[in-house]
């Protein structure tokens, strides 16, 4: 049996007859309403746009968020991979760099050693040159010693001929002259200090050296270089009468008498006058007292006066 007869039979199925009165009941219950009212009812139940599309929008947002997260993570993953590759390459180069560094250190050590050897060589050459120099000096010393021996021998012969004492110092005269000039210089400084002190004390020169200690630089100048009996004081606290070679002849004299002798060296007969000048007196030139004031007297007739250039004037 095919489908067609079955379909034909089914299409010819009997239609049940409705019961009596059904049509009237249906017509009695017709309840029509206006289309406008229905539309109003429909619009009443209309939901807002965002609520209607909320599921789709929420799904879209979730999808977009997932996509963004996935993109960020993928980006981070790729970046980490690149960093990993870079680190691998760097690690591969690291071993090579270590070897190069070790080689460089070796070369540096060798260069330092070479430099040290060069310095040692240079020093060795300098020492050799010095040795040569010393050898030359030793040869000269031997020659000089021989020359000295020869000169001593000649001198001894000359002394024997001239019967001159062999112990006399040939520089003694120059030394004495130098000490005398030095003594004169000391007197000059003392005179200047006394005048400076008098300017503050009614033109009266000081009584002693300790009074004008502020005007003197050091107490060492108060000892004559030729004096062996008095010791030099290193400072004014240790200064005493035993630390001075010079003597004040006119203590407390007024500056109104510039030619009066103020201080004197008993060893060299040098004097300092009130006007601040220092004078070198000859052995025959005395110090005379005129009206109670000590002044430089005239020299003896046989005695020649000292040249003017030996008199040191005050500035």
């Amino acid at each position: 049996m095919t489908n067609d007869p079955i379909e034909n039979v089914l299409r010819k199925a009997p239609r049940p007859a409705p019961p009596a009165g059904l049509k009237e009941r249906l017509e009695a219950h017709i309840a029509l309403s206006r289309a406008s009212e229905a539309r109003r009812t429909e619009t009443t139940y209309l939901v807002p746009f965002w609520r209607r599309w909320f599921p789709a929008l929420a799904f879209g947002m979730i999808f977009l968020t997932c996509f963004v997260i996935l993109a960020v993570q993928t980006n981070q993953l790729l970046q980490l991979r690149r960093e990993n590759e870079a680190l691998r390459v760097a690690t591969a180069n690291l071993e090579q760099l270590r070897q190069e560094n070790q080689e460089l250190l070796k070369l540096s050590a060798q260069a330092q050693q070479l430099e040290r050897l060069r310095k040692d060589n240079l020093e060795l050459q300098q020492l050799r040159a010095e040795i040569e120099n010393v050898r030359g000096q030793a040869l000269q010393l031997a020659q000089l010693q021989a020359e000295q021996q020869r000169l001593l021998a000649e001198r001894a012969a000359q002394q024997a001929q001239a019967s001159v004492p062999a112990e006399e110092d040939p520089f003694a005269e120059a030394k004495a002259k130098a000490m005398r000039i030095n003594c004169l210089n000391n007197l000059k400084q003392i005179g200047l200090a006394a005048r400076i002190w008098s300017n503050k004390h009614q033109d009266i020169l000081p009584e002693d050296f300790l009074t004008m200690s502020n005007e003197l630089n050091t107490p060492k100048i108060l000892v004559c270089p030729a004096d062996r009996q008095h010791a030099q004081a290193s400072n004014w606290a240790e200064f005493g009468p035993a630390n001075s070679s010079y003597e004040i002849l006119s203590p407390g004299i007024n500056e109104l008498h510039p030619d009066v002798v103020y201080v004197r060296c008993p060893i060299h007969h040098n004097v300092g006058t009130v006007d601040g000048a220092a004078h070198q007196l000859g052995p025959s030139q005395p110090i005379i007292e005129v009206d109670g004031l000590k002044k430089i007297g005239r020299a003896e007739a046989a005695e020649e006066p000292k040249p003017a250039n030996q008199r040191q004037e005050s500035p």
């Binding site: 089914l10 049940p16 409705p18 219950h29 309840a31 029509l32 309403s33």
Partner: protein, 191 residues
């Protein structure tokens, strides 16, 4: 709105009672027959028909003409029947006696007794189909709807309607060949 039915619908939407009465007269027999075959009781079918038309009057103002009124009305009847069936948990199909009483008083198209027996056997076999297949056969063959209209009433695709009809015809064919064959497993699905 050249269709007379659509003109009546338009008038009923405007509040014309006569037009609504004409719509009732035009469709109530088909709807009653459809529901009567499904629920197997005259009174229940009459109540369901009344409920169907009550829904029609409520929803008529929103009718936009996207489908024919017949299809729309069958859809409402289908939903009314499904709701009623869900409440009653009704599973009793039509009996052979009913088909006999239903066909006997009226002039039958089956003049011969053999054809009449075949028809009764087929109707009985249709009532043994699963519920969704049975409703598809009712709408397609008993009510004379097209494939598209049947699909729209049931809310399924046309291809699904075709599949169900093919399955139903295959089952009916097998039943005609072997009247006492049990229902195959593939068709024994819950409705």
């Amino acid at each position: 709105m050249s269709d007379p039915v659509e003109q009546l619908v338009g008038q009923a939407q405007a509040g014309n009672y006569e037009a609504a009465s004409q719509l009732v007269a035009q469709f109530y027999k088909r709807i009653f027959a459809y529901l009567r075959r499904l629920c197997a009781h005259d009174e229940d079918a009459a109540d369901l028909t009344q409920q169907t038309f009550a829904r029609l009057w409520v929803a008529l103002p929103s009718y936009a003409g996207r489908s024919s009124l017949s299809t729309w009305l069958h859809g409402m009847a289908h939903h009314v029947y499904v709701d009623w069936r869900r409440v009653r948990n009704f599973t009793q199909p039509q009996t052979d006696e009913w088909w006999a009483t239903c066909t006997t008083p009226n002039p039958s198209p089956f003049e011969e007794a053999a054809e009449r027996d075949l028809a009764h056997q087929l109707y009985r076999a249709v009532e043994q189909l699963p519920e969704d297949t049975r409703q598809t056969v009712h709408l397609r063959y008993y009510q004379g709807l097209t494939l598209a209209e049947t699909a729209e009433v049931l809310g399924i695709a046309s291809s699904t309607v075709k599949y169900r009809l093919r399955e139903a015809l295959g089952f009916l064919r097998s039943r005609m060949a072997e009247p006492k064959q049990p229902i195959p497993h593939t068709l024994n699905r819950a409705s």
